[in-house]
């Protein structure tokens, strides 16, 4: 198509080109002469990053409907880390440094700590940890005081930031508190402040509901009723498995929040409520670290690089976290001009601010080593908003309106 359009037009185009000489002829003599071509030397430094995952991690099991239709196929975020390494390739010449990424898969959460200890003993300082909560206590104990930074790239559990509170971790993946604060900021900004909460039976559902309730209190939303649901079709349990009956309450509500980490019951909630009300939480409007439709702040470029790397798969929150973790390490080397661990660690945990393609620069909170970041509020095909929502103010950094701020945090690594 373009060739046809170009052909007829070309004679005139060429005519133009014949007269284009005057432009640079009068170039001023004050231009700075460029130095001679530098001779490239082989990289002197090597920076190894190890990605650790757990085989059989339940968080990555495919989510299937009852008739074996595969609804979601979550994948380990290794490709996100690979994009970060690819992004660093052009820096090889400038930094005289090779960045390498290794992948270790262990059999169970209990095997994470020994595997990382072994690699750390062999000289690796930077790890991307893609493991469930169960792996973390032993890992923190094994690595206490060691020269390592362990980047949590996939686990939102608030307990890791609060109770465990270990200085060797950097939580790049947002905490549940951050995610729920973002979600509640949005509904409050729309004045949808009367909320119905439906909570599932699993511990993850309870953690999600607890975080949501805390956020609602923090931002002045009102939970008009809390209902527990039980997935199933048993008619004797209909008070607990039928969304219409679960939402048949006297008080009106603006929005229904559903905590369903299995992504099972929640699928039956939209369009089955007694009142026509939007659903948020585990479906429809979800707070996420990243979304493939986000198209501001350079996001289309990284989404496109990721999809190429991951055979067309859309970039998800954990992929973003893995990409940012690698970016933080690379940027530390760039800005300190050093592969010395102490210097790089100080940069990452100190004044380093990083471009996570979510607008506001990301950085590490000194008190609990959570990465402060925007939370995207994603509908299936559109990022509806990015939190912090305008109007939620903070005395130093608006990103600290999301999650555990210094005064309320129970973790004080900065003291």
């Amino acid at each position: 198509m373009s060739s046809a359009a170009g052909l007829g037009a070309l004679p005139r185009l060429a005519a133009l080109w014949l007269l284009g000489f005057t432009w640079a002829a009068a170039a001023a003599a004050q231009e700075v002469p460029a130095p001679a071509r530098p001779t490239p030397a082989p990289p002197q430094h090597h920076m190894k990053i190890v990605f650790v995952q757990v085989d059989g991690d339940r968080r990555y099991e495919p989510i299937v409907a009852s008739d074996r239709i595969v609804l979601k196929k979550p994948e380990h975020p290794f490709a996100g880390a690979q994009v970060g390494i690819d992004d660093a390739a052009p820096l090889r010449r400038i930094l005289n440094t090779d960045f390498a990424l290794d992948r270790i898969a262990v059999k169970s959460p209990a095997d994470v700590a020994p595997a990382i200890k072994q690699a750390a003993d062999a000289g690796t300082h930077f790890f991307l940890v893609d493991a469930p909560t169960a792996a973390y206590a032993a890992l923190a104990a094994a690595m206490h005081g060691r020269n390592v930074l362990l980047f949590n790239v996939s686990e939102p559990d608030d307990a890791l930031r609060r109770r465990l509170c270990a200085g060797e971790f950097v939580h790049v993946y947002p905490s549940r508190a951050q995610l729920m604060d973002g979600l509640v900021q949005y509904v409050v900004s729309r004045r949808w402040t009367n909320l119905l909460e439906l909570q599932g039976p699993s511990p993850a559902d309870a953690a999600m509901a607890a975080a949501f309730e805390y956020s609602a209190k923090k931002f002045g939303a009102h939970i008009v009723a809390q209902q527990k649901f039980e997935p199933g079709t048993d008619p004797r349990q209909r008070e607990h498995n039928d969304p219409a009956l679960l939402s048949a309450i006297n008080r009106d509500f603006d929005v229904v929040f559903v905590a369903d980490s299995d992504f099972d019951f929640v699928r039956t909630v939209p369009y089955h409520l007694l009142r026509p009300r939007p659903v948020i939480g585990s479906i429809d409007l979800r707070p996420v670290a990243w979304h493939w439709t986000w198209d501001h702040n350079g996001a289309p470029q990284v989404n496109s690089r990721f999809e190429k790397k991951a055979n067309g798969r859309h970039m998800a929150g954990a992929d973003w976290a893995a990409w940012v973790a690698v970016t933080m390490i690379v940027q530390a080397v760039l800005h300190t001009r050093s592969t010395d661990f102490a210097k790089d660690r100080a940069f990452i945990l100190g004044n380093g601010s990083f471009d996570g393609d979510k607008g506001l620069a990301v950085s590490v909170r000194p008190w609990d080593h959570q990465v402060r970041q925007a939370v995207l509020l994603a509908a299936p095909y559109e990022v509806v908003a990015s939190a912090p929502i305008e109007g939620f103010l903070h005395r130093t950094n608006e990103l600290d309106t999301l999650g555990d701020d210094q005064p309320e945090s129970t973790c004080h690594l900065d003291h």
Partner: protein, 330 residues
């Protein structure tokens, strides 16, 4: 294959064109305002006196950066979603040719003396050097990740490129096609302006919210300018576009989401004031007499026209969807 054929056809067209070459027409200095609209895939032409849209030119998809040739007979438009630079005939307002670029061209620079167009190729992390006559990419100079702003020195010997992801500005030997020096700047460097004395290079750093000043001889950052318009949040200060007056005294910087243009006194590097514009202002250009400033508001679907003497906006004109850049024919 299709690309090769296209290039062949274009080359053939050139030979024909050379034979038919017409006498050069003088620039008409119409003062017409050209606005590229990323999402409506058109260039709108606006009369500077009546503020009326006088032409609507359909171009390839996602038009962004625009440059006139020296004679202002042609307007070159980078079209990101079709991987081409459209060539518009200014007199007829028609697309008369296309230069084939790397993927998703956004900003570019031209050196007509060397018959070259320099385009940053974000996906390939390189600077593509295009031969305008042959319509081929002659060289690809590796850069940092996501190269963006491109500027060619007046003598054409040096090209400067920002790398958004690597926080670098590269100095490139234009004829040799290799990087000579790099300098680390603030987070997400975007665009350039050069002081007329050739000594300084100003670069906007979007995420750092500042303009970094590079000494071209030392190739080192020697100063920074911070911005904070009244009533705005620091985090919304995302500088992108910048222009400098010909006397090198005043610079204007668009501040992106902070919806203002900063006026900077170049010798003292002090911010003299802020002018309110629309949301996500990026593209910025001065009229020939430098009395008028044009700003494209990407998330306002309009442009703001500013009187530079009073530093006040005169009018905002609705344009197409997601206006990217503005240029003036004079």
């Amino acid at each position: 294959m299709v690309l090769m054929m296209l290039r062949l056809i274009v080359a053939l067209g050139l030979i024909l064109g050379s034979a038919l070459a017409a006498a050069p027409a003088a620039a008409k200095d119409t003062g017409l305002i050209y606005v590229s609209n990323e999402k409506s895939n058109n260039i709108l032409v606006i009369d500077p006196k009546t503020y009326k849209i006088v032409n609507d030119i359909a171009v390839s998809r996602r038009p962004r950066d625009m440059h006139f040739n020296a004679g202002h007979t042609k307007l070159y438009v980078a079209c990101g979603d079709d991987d081409v630079i459209d060539v518009l005939d200014v007199a007829s307002g028609k697309v008369v040719g296309k230069l084939v670029t790397g993927s998703s061209p956004e900003t570019f620079a031209m050196d007509e003396a060397r018959r070259r167009v320099y385009v940053s190729d974000e996906e390939a992390s390189s600077l593509a050097v295009i031969n305008m006559d042959k319509n081929i990419i002659e060289k690809e100079v590796p850069t940092g990740a996501e190269p963006e702003g491109v500027m060619v020195s007046k003598d054409g010997k040096t090209v400067y490129v920002t790398s958004e992801v690597s926080d670098l500005v590269h100095e490139i030997d234009a004829d040799g096609g290799y990087v000579t020096r790099d300098v680390v700047v603030g987070t997400r460097p975007r665009r350039f302006a050069a002081t007329p004395d050739g000594k300084e290079l100003w670069v906007s750093t979007e995420m750092a919210g500042e303009v970094d000043i590079i000494d071209r001889k030392k190739f080192a950052v020697t100063g920074k300018i911070d911005f904070l318009p009244p009533g705005m949040r620091q985090s919304d200060v995302t500088p992108v576009g910048l222009v400098m007056t010909k006397d090198g005294k005043t610079a204007y910087v668009t501040l992106g989401h902070a919806a203002h243009v900063a006026v900077v006194d170049v010798p003292t590097r002090k911010v003299l004031g802020y002018i309110l514009v629309g949301r996500r202002s990026w593209g910025i250009t001065l009229s020939g007499d430098e009395r008028t400033l044009y700003v494209a508001n990407g998330l306002g679907d309009d442009i703001t026209i500013i009187d530079t003497a009073s530093r006040k906006p005169i009018i905002s004109i609705p344009v197409g969807r997601v206006p990217w850049g503005v240029v003036v024919d004079e």
